[in-house]
Amino acid sequence: MTTESVLINRVRQAIADSTPLCIQGGASKSFYGRTCQGEPLDVSGHAGDIRYEPSELVLTARAGTKLSEIETLLAANNQMLPFEPPHYSPGATLGGMVAAGLSGPRRPWGGSVRDAVLGVKLLNGRGEVLRLGGQVMKNVAGYDLSRLMVGALGTLGVLLEVSVKVLPRPADERTLVFELDDDIAAARQIAWGRQPLPLSATLYEAGRLYVRLSGSAQGVQAARVAMGGEETASALWAEVREQTLPLFQTKQALWRVSLPAAAPAMPGENLTEWGGALRWIVSDEPAESIRQHAAALGGHATLFRGHDGMGEVFHPLPPAMLALHQRVKLALDPHSLFNPGRLYQGL
């Protein structure tokens, strides 16, 4: 029996028994989101079958394929996943990457996971296998249900296969560092954001602003001269992406706050990425007050680490939106089998 038919049978059995399933890939992001109540469904064995033609800029593989395997293959062809996804552990899979929908340092410039997803093969809650989207750059036939899977944390179905857009690696990449107070660093980033500079990542922490430039050798060189600063090592970007920096080792609540890039600082900001659009805060403030503050600035707050998995992790939705989410969920998963409660309570 193929690994796919095993999964189909498991889901059909779960429909018959009304047993909810907790889908698990490499378990690298099991801390993310609420606790799922149900029987484990291991999808990491459904791996491989990589179809990749570099000149197409598209890669397709089974959802259990390890992210590290994919990135090694891309690097050998001088290409990359443009959204720089975090792994968090060596087991990270392609399907988990899509379900979590987390993008790394390049996100504001290179796009997000959902921007790159072109299609998925999905096992829905009726036990049917659907091909949604495709393997081409442009496709407007049918509703865009493949991008809907990104960040849904497995609540809409079992991902069997994913097609993503990939990009050439930049010919040159350099990291600059500037010693700046926080308000000056913020102003500087806003000003740079309005200039045609080859930015591909920023990080501000404790008086230091790091900036990565990516592009052709001459383009990067020109920007480097125009911007000033000192050149520094580039290992930092993997450290912030993988959260191996000391800040992320906290036992306290770690908040991931998404704001308009030019929004003023939140109280207690520890680290800023994405040109100002992503702020990390370690804080014991009540969730309510952090969320209100983020919402007032036009953003939202996720309780990323340091929670018990029982309360709401993601920013609560207004009632009409939550009701719509529930209807969308039932359209794909009518028996509420997949990852119940992982994204929101009651979803």
Partner: protein, 483 residues
Amino acid sequence: MNSAFQAALKATLPPQSLLIEAEALRPYECDGLSAYRQVPLAVCLPETLEQAQAVLRICLEHQVPVVARGAGTGLSGGALPLADGVVLSLARFNRILGIDADNRLARVQPGVRNLAISEAVAAYGLYYAPDPSSQIACSIGGNVAENSGGVHCLKYGLTVHNLLALKVLTMDGELLEIGAQSLDSPGYDLLALMTGSEGLLGVVVEVTVKLLVKPERAQVLLAAFASVETAGAAVAAIIGAGILPAGLEMMDNLSIRAAEDFVHAGYPVDAAAILLCELDGANAEVSEQIMAVREVLFSAGATEVRTAQDEAQRMKFWAGRKGAFPAVGRISPDYYCMDGTIPRQHLAQVLRRIGELSEQYGLRVANVFHAGDGNLHPLILFDANQPGEMKKAEDFGTDILRLCVEVGGTVTGEHGIGVEKLDAACSQFTAAELAQFHAIKAAFDPAGLLNPGKAVPTLHRCAEMGRMHIQGGALPFPELPRF
């Protein structure tokens, strides 16, 4: 029209916002696919959110279907009215509500024209990237509904990649805020789901778009080839070399000559195909890339490579491409525009096959398309006044779309299914997939009143098609476009 229904609309809308006379309805009877025509019951042109909400609630109460309409430039009949339905025009939602240069975004109403956004933000050194050829006319609301693309999608993405937030009315008049001015909003990605949903899930009443910083420099190269196959291979070679052009467009000989006669772009009229390759970025970067691309083009077999000497010539090169559809319209009484997308590696093979089909059907084809994305626009030339030619053109089109699906592509890259490609969609989706789409529709619009009958074929229709196929009979074909 039911008098209670009419009275309710009259009580809600000012007189200038409600059209019911046959003469006033006429301009709304079709979109850019003018072979399909239908006069609606009424056209509502609300000026406020409250009026739009009220129209939807009245229609829901009276079970009257609603077709949203932007500028009516759609090419698949998405905005085609229904005989027993109302057209909800967003034409008066035409204000730019706010520009936030520091956050590089603009909040606009759905009736704002695509190009008007870039014009309004140009003073800040910003622009809105997706640039459909219809950008002087089409509305941003229509762009959202179709997930429209343009010649710069290869590098900058489609509409879906350039949106931050939408305000949407559902059929019961509820206002939903989807997305935000910040990135990666919580919950399901309904922003992606709404984009390209062809007006079936909700009515877009506000759009927040992402703006980009204008590149320091943009430069275009024009390369000539002795065959379409070598031009197709050159496309793969450029991308294989690790270069991502801002735009990469191909035209074949018939379209080159038509465009040249029309806009005098300075195209090499003897070439079998040309590629237009735009490079943008920092000055130094563009210089470096021009050299690299020239080399790739020559080694891929280009017979000639020209670099636009100045901005005026760059605009000329593009004018030929952007004017290609009307240009082809001048050399044939009618043409039929296809929109399939294929994996680029099959470009040469598919173009060759289209050429063979062209001979087989005895109809000319002009190929002008987004080569970088593999999005084909074969224009089938025909004369509807010649008996049988329309049907031939339609069959030819069906063959092309089937070919696109066979090589792993799709029947529509950017124009949408609308009413035009409902049958073609049957060949792309299984019954379970179609049923899934209908379930999603019902989650948003349980009464099924928003643009019913468009975008997703019924299972019944596809089953009928299948049956007819087996009998080997002629497929039912609607009248073909004349535009």
